[in-house]
């Protein structure tokens, strides 16, 4: 093997080194652990920057099991940026005295899942994709059960593990049928052979989409989402809703567009149905939530429904809009969860009514939360509007006006419940609102990055242009 091939693996190698570092640091004495949070953030920031270094990216390694190109590097960089913001926001939680002894193992599990997500995105065949998927899922169940003195955290962990094991078994059954049809699991060979297997092929593809749809919490497979989001520690919920969801979305996108291009009729029809169901049911359940974590769970289900709008367009336009929407969704959701985790770390509150009168004491944080919720709802000046607008364009360019109508109606419904939170902060009276908070440096930096992301991405057309050139 050539040594210069190692450059194609730079994300994975650097992240593996970071994992080894966390393992060693976790074994050392407690004085070194004190600074572990800051050291990790700095090292990961270095990794994120290193990922942007432009090098030759087109490669296929290990007999075609690992593929790398500009698009995959871009997707990994998007995940890296979200994870960096996530690390900044989870620092406050990890520095609390009851969590500090398990910082090292938290990072160990976290980076293992991120490595799994890299491998999912860079997979060149289904064996690697499955390995990456499991590496991204199994440590995540342990993270969900991380508050190990809380009953609800233990429950969240076992619920996630059981349901994800079933869903990956369903996906594997689909893959085994696919293997029987094609005789190969390599993406390049399968995409060359064209549609085969008749209805058996359709069945196999449906099983596969069901497996990944579970990770993405699309509606018939969404039942774990609310419980796991509510039971997990808040930073882990944030990771689920942004990074884990992003990786699943990107993987589904790469496989459908690049490998099953011959089945476009089947999967664009499936995504039509999934989009309608997911948007509608996510919305209806979000309306009645009182707990903010659960509320964000159903909000993220609804957003996944909007993402499926991109899949009804099997051309490059669909891919562009999906990536662009995910980028904006990441920043908006990270901003919401950033404010929520600041509140949760200080006061342990997570109900919507706890936010009553929040604007009086914390005008800055309220405005950031307002901006982020407007972005999720898709109100014009912020980036969320452009993300949704492009997705609607992708669906409309296929002539699916009825689907766009349903999506617009659902966006309106979602505006109602996002505004309920805004109303609680700005209008509802409260004699004893949560007192003013002083932010730490990491929290401040994370919020600034999120706000920049929400405001700037919508107006800088060069970002969308860049995605367009990379998708090609």
């Amino acid at each position: 093997m050539n040594w210069d091939q190692l450059f194609f693996l730079r994300h994975e190698i650097l992240l593996s080194l970071l994992i080894v570092f966390e393992l060693v640091a976790d074994l050392s004495d407690s004085s070194a652990r004190q600074s572990l949070v800051n050291t990790t953030i700095v090292l990961f920031a270095g990794l994120t920057v290193a990922g942007f270094i432009p090098l030759a990216n087109e490669a296929s390694l290990f007999g075609g099991m690992y593929a790398s190109d500009d698009l995959r590097i871009l997707l990994k960089n998007i995940l890296n940026v979200s994870t960096l913001v996530f690390l900044l926001q989870s620092a406050g939680w990890l520095n609390q005295s009851q969590n500090s002894y398990k910082t090292g193992s938290f990072y160990l599990l976290l980076f293992s899942t991120l490595l799994g997500m890299y491998l999912m995105i860079c997979a060149g065949d289904f064996i690697m994709l499955y390995l990456g998927l499991e590496l991204a899922t199994i440590p995540l169940t342990l993270l969900a059960a991380y508050d190990h003195n809380l009953r609800r955290s233990a429950e969240a962990g076992i619920k996630l593990l059981m349901s994800s094991a079933v869903s990956s078994a369903v996906m594997l059954f689909g893959l085994s049928l696919m293997y029987g049809i094609y005789g190969s699991l390599h993406f390049s060979e399968m995409s060359q052979q064209g549609a085969m297997g008749g209805s058996l092929g359709v069945l196999a593809l449906t099983f596969f989409i069901a497996g990944l749809g579970f990770k993405l919490s699309l509606v018939p497979f969404h039942l774990w989402t609310a419980d796991v989001y509510e039971g997990s520690p808040l930073p882990v919920t944030m990771y689920f809703s942004v990074v884990s969801k992003g990786a699943a979305l990107f993987t589904l996108m790469l496989v459908l567009y690049r490998v099953f291009g011959q089945f476009t009729g089947v999967w664009s029809l499936l995504s039509y149905a999934l989009a309608v169901l997911t948007m509608l049911i996510g919305n209806l359940f979000a309306l009645r939530q009182k707990n903010l974590k659960r509320f964000m769970a159903f909000s993220s289900i609804t957003q996944a429904g909007f993402m499926m709008l991109g899949f009804v367009n099997p051309e490059a336009l669909g891919m562009n809009t999906i990536i662009y929407f995910m980028l904006i969704y990441s920043f908006s959701n990270l901003a919401v969860f950033g404010v929520l985790s600041i509140i949760h770390n200080r006061y342990g509150k997570e109900q919507i009514e706890d936010l009553n009168g929040f604007y009086k004491t914390n005008p800055g944080l309220s405005l950031i939360l307002l901006l982020a919720l407007f972005s999720l709802a898709g109100i014009p000046p912020v980036a969320g509007f452009f993300g949704k607008f492009f997705l609607f364009t992708a669906a409309a360019s296929r002539g699916l006006y009825f689907l766009v109508l349903i999506a617009v109606l659902n966006a309106t419904i979602s505006l109602y419940y996002y505004l309920l939170v805004v109303k609680a902060m700005f209008i509802n009276p409260n004699d004893q609102p949560l007192p003013a908070v002083t932010l730490t440096g990491a929290e401040r930096l994370a919020l600034v990055l999120c706000v920049l992301g929400i405001v700037v991405i919508g107006f800088m057309s060069s970002i969308y242009g860049y995605i367009q050139t990379v998708v090609g």
Binding site: F126, I127, Y130, L131, E134, I138, T141, L142, A145, H148, R151, R152, A154, E155, A156, G157, I158, K159, L161, M162, A165, V166, A169, V170, L172, F173, L175, S176, L177, Y179, G180, G183, S184, L185, A226, D227, E230, G231
Partner: protein, 107 residues
Amino acid sequence: MNLQSEIPLEYMIVLSTAVFFIGLVGVVIRRNLITMLMGIELMLNAVNINFVAFNHYLFPHRLEGHFFALIVMAIAAAEAAVAIALIINIYRKFSTVSVDDVDELKY
């Protein structure tokens, strides 16, 4: 003895599909977490039967199916290890391994 002349491929597919759905039904209707875990193992083994059978009957010149079966087994073992750790955790918190009693999170 030549296996292929004795047993046709269809039998293998019927067997694996039956095992898969027995496992799925087991996960859905059983209330004991350990038994549910056994159901998941059945589903994964059905997948293994599929992979090995397709490889042996249809594509004997390449070994991808066999490799995939090995990897599925290894991952199933890892998954079972984590699952049992979490089930012990559940038992400590709830003093039961029945999913009906693990119901803190609802609606």
